[in-house]
């Protein structure tokens, strides 16, 4: 075991970010700063610094983010194995920070208009990033739980920060109650698994790898373990809003501050995905087929419920919520496949989904800031009132529908190809039919913006920061669609490292 101070250097990103979070909250509480730019830019500076630090992080001359050498990846455990410093965790940490930066940039105007506690707003976003970073690095159930809770508690408060009490109160109470309930379930599930593993004399009973060792011993799992696993899946399914644990998402998106809804839809879901990949890669080690069916059923439910319900929506926030739910279904297809290839595809798909999610929410935030309207048919004629916003959201929607030139096409292709390679053609067919359904309601939104006339000819303006966010994310969506090879090194390395034992 290495000594603690030695290990501490590897935790520098987390330490910086937690410190930054407290500093921002402190500034917000103890000073009276009237300029809306100071806090967000202070936050972003810190985050960018951390992101750069992660990009160049190497251990013993190994550049972790891009190595694909199996031997080099084995000994990256720190604190006696509680945390894993492999390229998977680094890639996700990097993504979380980037998403955090974008969300903060998008929030500036919104916070100025609709939120009273700006210090807490930015500070808690930063703290939740720390939570997600711990989740992605966790190599053990309790550490993962701590990360999960740090994220969840920050989000509970963030969701309630809007200053429209009627909507915010409902959604924040709903979120706290449901979230607290699932947290309890997760904890109970962990305790069940722990008990089972201790009974079988497995050392380090909360480690993911121990679950893997345990799983390989059984053809069919004992009921208590299955029960524990079920509770764990419930909790994680809640986090990524997979059906049947998805019902909170539309309501919360509707009531939460819009940037926070975007944050929930992108970063928070990605954190859940990261944790799920970590845990399931171990559990699937053993009895594969029985779990595949369960995950596949969850995938079908999630995709279908998400897409079919989305057709009937009249408010854009709910539409995006349901479309996000259906995307988690596609990711579960990849999870049911459970190969290195499918993990690569999942990561690529999540990144693409996050980028297009940022664009969608960026546009909606701009729109909402200036009009305060929430219905899909309020978007009518957006092309005439602001063509840049209309084009941006169209590209993002087409990417999420999986059409070429955009990252959604190649990532879906990759995901489905990996699934077909594991004889899951039937699941892929259902997924393809689902993406056809999704195209329908995306087209309805697009039609609203281009074909229909605007209600009032009031022009909608965009400021430079919003343009910057949108254009950068669009470069991500289009650039990765045209030449995805540029980030494949990092993604390959990440997905291989999950499977290193």
């Amino acid at each position: 075991m290495e000594n603690i101070t030695n290990n501490l250097t590897y935790l520098i990103p987390e330490i910086i970010i937690i410190a930054l979070g407290f500093i921002i909250i402190g500034i917000g509480i103890f000073t009276r700063i009237r300029n809306k730019f100071i806090l967000p830019f202070a936050s972003i500076t810190g985050l960018i610094f951390t992101a750069i630090y992660i990009t160049f992080l190497d251990i013993g001359n190994i550049h972790i983010l891009s190595t694909t050498d199996h031997n080099q990846m084995k000994d990256l455990l720190i604190y006696g194995g509680l945390l894993k410093l492999d390229s998977f965790s680094l890639l996700f940490k990097f993504i979380f920070i980037i998403l955090g930066i974008f969300v903060i940039l998008m929030s500036i105007d919104y916070v100025d208009k609709h939120v009273n506690h700006e210090g807490e707003f930015y500070g808690l976003i930063i703290l939740s990033i720390a939570g997600m970073m711990i989740m992605s690095a966790a190599n053990e159930l309790l550490t993962a739980y701590i990360g999960l809770e740090l994220l969840s508690f920050s989000l509970y408060i963030l969701v309630s920060l809007g200053n429209d009490p009627e909507k915010t109160n409902e959604s924040s109470i709903k979120y706290i109650l449901l979230g607290g309930f699932t947290s309890a379930l997760v904890l109970y599930g962990i305790s069940q698994i722990y008990t089972e593993l201790v009974k079988n004399d497995i050392v380090n009973p909360t480690f993911f790898s121990s679950i893997g060792i345990y799983a390989t011993q059984y053809e069919a799992f004992p009921p208590l373990f299955v029960f524990g696993l079920f509770l764990l899946i419930t909790g994680l399914g809640f986090k990524i809003a997979a059906a049947p644990f998805h019902t909170w998402a539309p309501d919360i998106y509707e009531g939460a501050p819009l940037p926070i809804a975007g944050y929930l839809a992108t970063a928070s879901k990605l954190a859940g995905i990261a944790l799920i990949l970590r845990i399931f890669s171990e559990i699937f080690e053993g009895s594969h087929s029985s779990l595949v069916i369960i995950v596949a059923i969850l995938a079908i439910l999630t995709m279908s419920i998400g897409n079919i319900t989305a057709i009937a929506q009249t408010k854009y926030r709910r539409l995006i919520a349901y479309s996000g739910i259906s995307h988690m279904g596609y990711i579960l297809v990849g999870l049911a496949t459970n190969t290195v290839d499918s993990y690569t595809a999942i990561i690529l798909h999540s990144i693409g989904y996050a980028f297009s999610g940022l664009v969608i929410f960026g546009v909606l935030i701009c729109f909402y800031n200036q009009t305060n309207k929430e219905n899909i048919n309020d978007l009518s004629g957006l092309y005439k009132t602001n063509s840049f916003l209309a084009v941006s959201i169209t590209i993002a929607l087409l990417s999420t529908a999986g059409l070429p030139f955009f990252v959604g096409f190649i990532s879906k292709f990759y995901l489905f190809l990996a699934a077909v390679e594991q004889d899951l053609l039937w699941l892929v067919i259902i997924a393809l039919i689902n993406s056809l359904i999704s195209l329908y309601y995306y087209l309805m939104v697009i039609k609203e913006m281009y074909v229909n006339e605007p209600d009032d000819v009031l022009a909608i303006s965009t400021n430079n920061i919003e343009k910057l966010v949108l254009i950068t994310s669009l470069i991500g969506v289009i650039g990765l669609g045209i030449y995805p090879d540029i980030i494949m090194d990092a993604i390959n390395s990440a997905s291989i490292s999950v499977f290193i034992r």
Partner: protein, 499 residues
Amino acid sequence: MDSWILPLILIVPVITLLAILFIPKNNDETIKNITIFGSAISGILSLYVFMAFAQTRDPNQFDFSMVWLRNLSIRLDFGVDGISALMVLLVGIVYLTGTLISCKITERIKEFFILYILLIIGVYGVFISQDLFFFFFFYELAVVPMYLLIAVWGHSSEFETFNRTKEYGALKLMLVLVASSVLIWIGILSTFVVANQNSFLFKDLIDANIGNDFQIFIFPFFLIGFGVLAGLWPFHTWSPDGHVAAPTSVSMVHAGILMKLGAYGILRSIEFLPAGAQEWMWLLLILGTINVVYGALSAMAQKDLKYVIGYSSVSHMGYVLMGLATLNVIGVAGSVLQMFSHGIMTALFFALVGVIYERTHSRDIETLDGLIKPMGIAGTLFVIAGLTSLGLPGLSGFVAELFIFIGVFQTNPLMAILGVIGAAITAVYILRLIARIFFGTVSEKWANLPDISKFELIPSVILAFFIVFMGVLPIYFIDAVNESVKELINAYLSNFVAG
């Protein structure tokens, strides 16, 4: 130089697109000029590709290859044989003429051209890709812009008894095409996995010698998936609705090129799924024949000028499908020639329908009358297109249809007879149409219409030129195509000789 010409064919439209993107909105003239200039270069490049190919007939001369995604070993691999070279020429011609025709658009011209060029990039890409993934990538890309092109710039049909909004046409087209591409997705994914070559290249898939049972299982997915885009009966109804709702130049590209993508896709899948093709070709032959007859009969029943042409496209695509289904050299060669001939012809038709509609604001063949008097040049060109359509010797349609009929007679005489009957029906409705709208009594209403303008004349003449050229000198085209078709059919047959 030669290995760069195919990438260049894609890059030129991309550059044109980017140039338009960065020009401020109100500079309509600059945007038009740049697009015309870009499309002219593309047209010349396409012509060069075809002529260079016709000279050497070396299918590897333009090969270009680079790795695109290492993980899945997807390669950006371009190359043309005789079939695709002819299709590239077709795209070049229709792109240029369509651009010229579009210059009369006044509303949101910048966005129109951006989407239009995106569509063109898609179709170019399909014809030059030698990799199944990119084939499909560009195929989907060609479908994407159609929705907005039709829904924003299209026209709704408003008759007393019959109303179809442009949104309806656009949505139907988009959803049907994407639904059909679901079948292609399934086909491509499972073919890749079964072939187990870790490559999407056509030639690797051909070498893989995929098992017969799987071929027979998967071929219908490709057949129907691509067939829908080719207007295969009974999945054809999206096509007339889409044609009619679309603005002129988009109808031209749509009927002239886009439907050929489907037929071309079937042709390519014959290459790597020979046993499947052999098993299922009876179906294609029957459906193709139904296409011919049913399309022709439907065209006869239409009152809307554009619907007549729309259904005639369905009927003519039937010939293409029949020719493919013969799987002999003469039939397939005829089918390829028909793709080209019909592409040019139908583009001319839609261009002229656009011209007529522009002036009369009516497409009702009951009210249009005696238009040859005010619009002599347009009328003459329309008659040329009409005569090609019914297969008059000396014009492009004749050679193509002759080849197809000979090919079909060799495999299934009954279907050939039905096909010929279809051609006869075509003659009836085309001649009736021409007689009615051009040669009736001149009504007061139309007497003072201006004739075709410069921007409409040039593209129409280019199209008419190729119709006549191919009719008079078919050997030039046949020679270019024949060798590649022979190679394809020989490769197909060798699968069964070996066992």
